[in-house]
């Protein structure tokens, strides 16, 4: 049976893992390569490394961090932040990543999705959507949550799929870093609109939040960062909890 995935996310700034609350208030949490290896050993189904300041400061993703992190990692590894061109993506794949995640650059020019998918395959292209509630709907934001785009998040997810995206990484900006739980309504709206897998992100505060996002949110995978870094729970504890709740999990890992 296909399991639901638990994806550990490392938000990286200047080569260090950090985690903020609602995209602000950064706190230092350690070395990316060490944390990636620890998460993988503890049962993380995938690793995502997001260079959270790359778009803002317009600098290339830290390829050396990617290379060092990828070296001894034998589960799927995604890198996002600052990917603007096919060449940016190619350099990240050469450094050892399996997938890239694109956000701002895809919104600015959605043909970039097609371009990378045609060269490296759709399975290698994740379109990240930072969504924020807006009346009854959801709006997509760019540049690490600093700029509001004109795109409706649900319609944009569908467009990204049509352009060749292999997965959607959906972050609720309203919930991110709050520990108040995933936005299941947002996740479900997008998961039911697209045929590609949806990774839910933002708001995880307890193991029960993951149960909800898989059941009510119809998520295919869920991403979490701070819940692990600050010892709130271990991945194996989380996966055991989910398994007992009837959610299919890769276990033992």
């Amino acid at each position: 049976m296909l399991t639901k995935r638990i994806i550990a996310c490392l938000d990286v700034d200047a080569g260090r893992v950090v985690k903020g609350t609602q995209f602000l208030n950064l706190r230092d949490a350690g070395d990316p390569a060490e944390l990636a290896a620890a998460h993988s050993a503890a049962g993380a189904d995938e690793l995502v490394l997001l260079d959270i300041t790359a778009t803002h400061e317009r600098r290339a993703t830290l390829l050396e961090t990617v290379r060092r992190t990828a070296l001894e990692l034998f589960v799927p590894f995604t890198v996002g932040g600052g990917v603007r061109t096919l060449e940016d993506a190619g350099a990240i794949f050469d450094a050892g990543a399996d997938k890239i995640s694109i956000n701002s650059a895809a919104i600015a020019d959605s043909s970039l999705i097609t371009c990378i998918a045609q060269r490296f395959g759709s399975q290698a292209v994740i379109v990240a959507i930072d969504a924020k509630r807006n009346g009854n709907g959801f709006q997509a934001w760019t540049s690490g949550g600093r700029v509001r785009s004109e795109k409706d998040a649900v319609l944009w997810a569908k467009e990204a799929e049509d352009r060749g995206a292999g997965e959607i990484l959906l972050t609720s900006m309203d919930r991110d870093g709050t520990g108040a739980g995933f936005d299941c309504e947002l996740t479900r709206a997008i998961s039911q609109t697209v045929r590609i897998p949806v990774i839910a992100s933002g708001g995880a505060g307890s193991a029960e939040d993951f149960v909800h996002v898989f059941r009510e949110g119809a998520a295919d995978a869920a991403l979490a960062a701070s819940i692990f870094h600050f010892g709130l729970s271990s991945i194996s504890d989380l996966k055991r909890h989910l398994l007992v709740a009837g959610i299919p999990m890769r276990f033992p890992c």
Binding site: L2, F74, D94, G96, Q123, P197
Partner: protein, 215 residues
């Protein structure tokens, strides 16, 4: 960047090392596959040179992306080199699209021809399930004598990412269930295929690659 050592195969052979050629047909990235063999201390060459493929003692055909990308193998003269080596008994492992190419064809690109080692065609997942099939799914081992799967228990989880699938064949050694059963691994004599990505499947995947090294 990947080290592309076109002369590496011949040089390493003189040192008595088993050289595994990782065939580079410009479809996606090969860094992950290379990295896994580096971890196992296996000598590999990433190459697009038919001569290096002919000199290799084992061959890996990785693959991500579109079935049509395998057409490059024809244009580059790699198809002939691979067929020749398989006929000589050299162990060959196709991964993902590399395994799909071992069949005659795929619905994904009907005009592109695979190796036709076994009859059948790769088909798309039915509309009732999400596609691509992405994530960790379990193996149902159908042939306990498989050399590729030696030491791998029934029910082991491995990582898949694909939109097309290989039907169940006489050579199927492990089956997977997603919108119906399909071939997760095939094996016959010196011909091996994995629909999943052993290089991304944690310690179980590394064990399979080690098994392949030891064949």
């Amino acid at each position: 960047m990947l080290a592309r050592q076109t002369n590496g195969a011949a040089a390493a052979k003189h040192e008595g090392t088993v050289v595994i050629a990782i065939v580079d047909y410009k479809a996606g990235n090969l860094a992950s596959v290379k990295k896994a063999f580096d971890h196992l201390s296996a000598e590999t060459v990433v190459t697009a040179d038919p001569a290096a493929v002919q000199a290799a003692e084992k061959i890996i055909l990785p693959g991500v992306g579109h079935f049509a990308a395998t057409k490059v193998l024809d244009d580059a003269g790699l198809r002939e080199a691979i067929i020749e080596q398989i006929e000589r008994g050299v162990p060959f492992l196709g991964i993902c699209v590399g395994m799909q190419w071992m069949l005659a064809s795929s619905e994904e690109a009907p005009d592109v021809h695979g190796l036709a080692l076994w009859p059948g065609e790769c088909s798309r997942f039915p509309s009732g399930v999400k596609s691509p099939h992405v994530g960790w799914n379990s193996l149902h081992i159908r042939n306990g004598a498989s050399r590729l799967l030696r030491g791998i228990p029934d029910g082991t989880f491995v990582y898949f990412t694909h939109s097309y699938r290989v039907p169940l064949l006489s050579s199927t050694v492990a089956e997977c269930e997603y919108g119906g059963g399909f071939s997760a691994a095939v094996e016959q004599e010196n011909m091996f295929g994995a629909q999943f990505h052993p290089e991304k499947s944690g310690s179980a995947g590394l064990r399979m690659l080690e098994n392949f090294c030891q064949i």
